[in-house]
């Protein structure tokens, strides 16, 4: 019902259908998918109600980190985003506190617990994403015994969700290749090393003071791993935002959304609203459009989006309204999101009365930044276990940066183990820094005045670390200062007597979809413009009339599509050729996809009172509860925790801690006065039976 049947980038595998039950009724699922995917595919988004206040619960992180998506599977509470479907599974919502499944004491009492396995490894890598795999490759090359664990069902981390071509440097990090394909390449490479072992569906639970790491293997086996060196490449978790209605099912992170859409291939929403104009929010909007989902709008509280300008421009051109200097006021609804209310902010980021607007939508994505998953690294360091971190777990940056920092850290780990890795080139560290860098300066656009021959127009005006366009031109006509891939590329009309051949390779490779090719050779008055397009080929056909737009998304005119070219060499980037008047042909950067009416606000805005703002979503503690204590003079988050239970929930204070800090900030309390609560294991909830060495085989649960 809510499945993605076709996708311009992702293959839709044929999977066997299996039957489950939900609340006693039939639920069709596809083999190998998660329970949450099956539920979303059936249009079910409320997975239960909270014991404290009856609030509806559903997907939040889709990443196994929180427990908002808990359901009962054959009587056992499980995280639906991590649990795979099994034929005949009886799935029930969790209404209030779940019943602890009863067992036959006489039978269960005879179960023989296995002793806990311990395992010594030279290197344990937590997280098989871009950084962990890259490190694993370097370690594998040197024959160092390495164990990579990852809590997901396949390697690649968040790369497997990235349908777009990567930025960065071709030489260092596969730039120009799609994230999903980089994942596959890295996986193949790492799997080729006999000394690198991979445990999938295996999550780190704790780093203990005796320098061991507790690992839950496939949900049922507990292993104590004793590494000589720990490398944490566990990525990031999404920051949340406090506003009324912020815990309604349908309000969740952009990463969760990408998981549902690009991994689970479900259409979790019809109308989406995005909060946050960083790369994560901008890319999520793009992925939504690719999946056939309407993007009603995007708010960014700053005056400019923080993400790459090419991402912002691309989204604007496709027809998504971007509201800068705006914030979200509330998500409205009771058991589901019905609308979102936004407002303009003043110079102090306070909403301006009278500027409120509401939009019809069923999902609000929060993309307001990421926090490193660094608790394992921190604990290891506290306990004196040699420890490194790479990728987002070390510092939040692009995946391209994670690949490179993983490589470097891999060598550093090898060196820490006494291997001679020689001098790690200072160039590597420099490249790592470049890949991590934030967008630099923006140069005003200068449209070329040429009106003859054929040439590319580069609609890329902001300094970002990216160079694929410089590597594809057969005549080497796109240049960039070789010392720094952050500088802008430029087209040099000819070299050694050779000019642009109109091959379109630069058009297809640009990750920002920011290069067009204008060809005046056939018709100088109505040149042909080749535009990159990452939607289904059938979306457009020759003879269609489309609205073309300039770089920023301003409409230039309506023109006719001459041809739609989808060739294998262009790797799913379709090239649409339009014929446009010479007056604006050079200015064309893209084609509008989404009609303007999608972004129309509601006639009047929907108001929601502030009491609904939840800070600790696990224990349902509101902003008001915590603010009251702060105003009474409380500065120790431990005390807030004791009194309100905020941060005592299943997510382990991962979600609320930054929000509590924010409340302190809003109350004018300097960061130096705040005392944080300690981080303690476990980082995931695990049943006593697993620790007892019983596994779960005895009663048939947890089997794949």
């Amino acid at each position: 019902m809510y499945r993605i049947e076709q996708h311009p980038i992702l293959p839709i595998p044929a999977r066997k259908s299996i039957s489950l039950t939900w609340k006693g009724g039939p639920l069709e699922a596809l083999e190998g998918e998660t329970l949450s995917a099956a539920l979303f595919a059936a249009g079910i988004r409320v997975f239960g109600h909270h014991a404290k206040d009856g609030a509806a619960q559903g997907i939040f992180c889709a990443n196994g980190q929180c427990a908002q998506c808990l359901v009962l599977a054959d009587g056992i509470p499980v995280k639906s985003c991590m649990e795979l479907v099994r034929p005949g599974m009886r799935v029930e919502p969790v209404e209030g506190l779940p019943e602890l499944p009863s067992v036959d004491a006489a039978v269960a009492g005879t179960a023989k617990p296995r002793p806990v396995e311990t395992l010594h490894v030279p290197v344990l890598v937590i997280g098989g994403g871009p950084a962990g795999l890259s490190a694993g490759i370097e370690l594998g090359k040197r024959g160092i015994e390495t164990l990579i664990i990852d809590d997901k069902h396949r390697l690649g981390g968040k790369l497997v969700l990235q349908t777009h071509r990567f930025f960065g440097s071709i030489e260092a990090v596969y730039a120009g290749t799609r994230g999903i394909d980089i994942a596959t390449r890295l996986e193949h490479e790492v799997r080729a090393f006999p000394h690198v072992r991979v445990w999938l569906q295996s999550a780190a639970l704790a780093v203990y003071s005796d320098k061991t790491v507790g690992v839950l293997v496939e949900g049922r086996r507990y292993v104590l791993v004793k590494p000589d060196v720990l490398l944490t490449t566990a990525g990031a978790r999404e920051k949340n935002l406090a506003f009324p209605g912020n815990t309604l099912p349908g309000v969740y992170g952009a990463g969760a959304f990408q998981t549902l859409v690009n991994r689970d291939l479900v259409k979790p929403t019809g109308r989406l609203f995005i909060v946050g104009g960083g790369n994560v929010g901008l890319i999520a909007g793009y992925h939504a459009l690719q999946a056939g989902i309407s993007v009603v709008g995007l708010v960014e509280i700053l005056a400019e989006c923080g993400g790459y300008k090419v991402h912002r421009d691309k989204l604007a051109r496709l027809g998504v309204p971007i509201y800068t200097s705006h914030t979200v006021l509330s998500a409205n609804g009771t058991d589901a999101v019905g609308s979102v209310t936004i407002a303009r902010v003043d110079a102090r980021f306070k909403p301006v009365a009278g500027t409120e607007r509401s939009f019809d939508c069923d999902t609000v994505l929060i993309a307001v930044g990421l926090d490193p998953v660094n608790e394992f690294h921190e604990k290891a360091r506290e306990f004196g276990l040699p420890s490194f971190a790479a990728g987002d777990a070390e510092e939040i940056a692009e995946a391209s940066a994670a690949i490179f920092s993983g490589k470097i850290r891999g060598l550093e780990v090898a060196r820490a183990l006494g291997h001679d890795v020689g001098e790690i080139s200072p160039d590597w560290y420099r490249t790592a820094d470049i890949l991590k860098s934030h967008p630099g300066k923006t140069t005003p656009e200068q449209t070329p005045a040429d009106a003859a021959g054929v040439f590319p127009v580069i609609h890329c005006h902001q300094e970002i670390p990216c160079d694929p366009c410089t590597g594809v031109c057969p005549n080497d006509l796109i240049e960039m200062d070789e010392t720094d891939i952050r500088l802008l590329p430029s087209f040099v009309g000819e070299k050694s007597g050779k000019g642009c051949t109109g091959c379109e390779k630069c058009v297809a490779i640009c990750p920002g979809l920011a290069i067009t090719l204008v060809d005046y050779r056939k018709d100088a008055d109505f040149p042909t413009v080749a535009i990159p397009f990452e939607f289904l080929k059938d979306t457009l056909k020759a003879g269609d009339t489309v609205t073309v737009e300039d770089t920023l998304g301003n409409a230039l005119g309506r023109v006719e599509v001459g041809a739609v070219k989808a060739i294998k060499a262009n790797d799913r980037t379709v090239i649409v050729k339009v014929r446009a008047p010479r007056e604006y042909a050079n200015k064309i950067a893209g084609i509008r996809v989404q009609p303007a009416e999608v972004g129309e606000p509601l006639g009047r805005y929907v108001e929601r009172t502030a009491e609904d703002t939840v800070i600790c979503r696990c224990e349902r503690v509101t902003a008001g509860d915590i603010r009251k204590l702060i105003r009474e003079g409380v500065r120790d988050i431990n005390e807030i925790k004791s009194v309100t239970r905020a941060s005592m929930g299943s997510c382990g204070a991962k979600t609320c801690t930054p929000l509590i800090h924010r409340l302190f900030r809003e109350e004018g309390v300097p960061e130096s006065e705040i005392v944080d609560q300690p981080k303690r294991p476990l980082f995931l909830e695990v049943s006593l039976g697993v620790f007892a060495g019983l596994g779960q085989e005895e009663d048939g649960h947890g089997r794949e």
Binding site: L100, K641, L688
Partner: protein, 386 residues
């Protein structure tokens, strides 16, 4: 900062003993200051306590103090409105072997003599109270329905808030560095941030009690060992009493657990041999050790998920009984230390006793209680049910 503000009483330690003691003293109208090294109330050992409250001990001192504590805990919400998650779930010590049956039954005689509401239940009756117990080899156990449990975090905060309301002052993130002593009489307390005058100083510093007493040149035989505990996810109610299994096995002595008011199960185990010292960092051995025993005792627990673990300190004394009393060496200096892991349940009753000692209004029963807990006793015996 120049201090020298003066108080009637300074309490060192805003924990399970210090906070209720401050409340009791403030209730009498005395000017009280509590000093603690941590940033807020109960951040030493109190927050690490699992919350069990029982009067079913084996000596009159602890029985008396805890009976009074139970009255205070059980009536707190109706008297003052704060939710402290008190629940009268009872305590049950279970027996699967003749040794434990004998030990428990011997104690039962003593406990009944003190008028405690506790009885022996045979296996069938015990299964009526704890239906999920492993019936295999179960002999029976004690059940004391008037015992219970509460949230140490909420309870101490309630005591603290009320003490403050009654005028008690608290200074956090402040370390006691010494005392002002004049002719064998205490005159005040010095800290890293100031100095405070008082003719009475109460050492309620828990695991730091010996260190604090040493600053006054007084030797107190308190040294902490550590126990790890954990809390699970919340589930619908399936268990009422605190379950205690005192069978020793390799690596551990007793362990105990209960289902808190929130539906979470909280549990703790006593390592054997004891792990002495102040280390409260998490270990990898705890969960497998305790889980194995709990799941064997109540197989249904195997599907219950553990949320968080921690390690706390038990300020132990040579005989397992607290050390409470005025010191002979230093007039005005009172010890209320060495609670041996029972500070939370002793706290409110003990706080009232300390107030009576300061006011000089102790009665005959108090004096008897204090004789058991005297810092100058011989420390010869050994507490049977730690």
């Amino acid at each position: 900062m120049v201090g020298n503000k003066s108080y009637d009483v300074v309490i060192v330690g805003a924990g399970s003993v210090g906070a209720p003691a401050a409340l009791s003293l403030a209730e009498t109208g005395l000017r009280v200051l509590v000093i603690d090294q941590y940033p807020s109330v109960g951040q030493g050992s109190n927050k690490r306590a699992i919350g069990g409250l029982r009067a079913t001990h084996s000596d009159p001192a602890k029985i008396r103090l805890c009976l009074r504590s139970l009255e205070i805990f059980s009536t707190w919400q109706e008297r003052f409105g704060d939710k402290i998650e008190w629940r009268k779930g009872g305590y049950s010590f279970v027996a699967y072997r003749g040794e434990e049956e004998r030990t428990l039954k011997e104690l039962l005689v003593v406990q009944k003599n003190y008028g405690l509401n506790i009885d022996w239940l045979d296996a069938k009756a015990l299964l009526g109270v704890i239906p999920d117990l492993n019936p295999e080899s179960l002999i029976g156990g004690t059940f004391s329905p008037d015992d219970g449990h509460a949230s140490p975090l909420l309870a101490i905060h309630a005591f603290y808030s009320r003490a403050k309301k009654l005028g008690a002052e608290f200074r956090f993130q402040e370390r006691v560095t010494g005392y002002d002593i004049d002719g064998g009489q205490i005159r005040g307390v010095r800290t890293d941030k100031g100095a405070y005058a008082a003719a009475v100083v109460v050492n309620a510093a828990g695991p730091w009690g010996a260190e604090m007493a040493a600053l006054a040149g007084i030797d107190v035989p308190v040294r902490p060992d550590s126990h790890e505990g954990a809390v699970t996810e919340a589930v619908a109610r399936f268990l009422e009493p605190m379950v205690v299994d005192i069978r020793p096995v390799a690596g551990s002595a007793n362990y105990y657990f209960y289902q808190h008011d929130t539906g979470q199960v909280i549990f703790c185990i006593t390592p054997s041999p004891s792990i002495w010292g102040m280390d409260v960092r998490e270990t990898s051995s705890f969960l497998p050790m305790v889980a194995r025993r709990m799941v064997e005792l109540i197989p249904r627990l195997k599907n219950l998920r553990v949320r968080r673990t921690w390690r706390g300190l038990y300020p132990m004394t040579p005989d397992g009984f607290p050390i409470v009393g005025w010191t002979r060496e230093l007039k005005g200096y009172m010890l209320a230390v060495g609670m041996c892991g029972q500070g939370f349940m002793l706290g409110p009753g003990l706080g009232e006793l300390l107030a009576r000692m300061v006011l000089g209004t102790t009665d005959e029963k108090d004096r008897q209680t204090l004789s058991y807990l005297s810092p100058y006793r011989e420390f010869k015996g050994q507490e049977k049910l730690k």
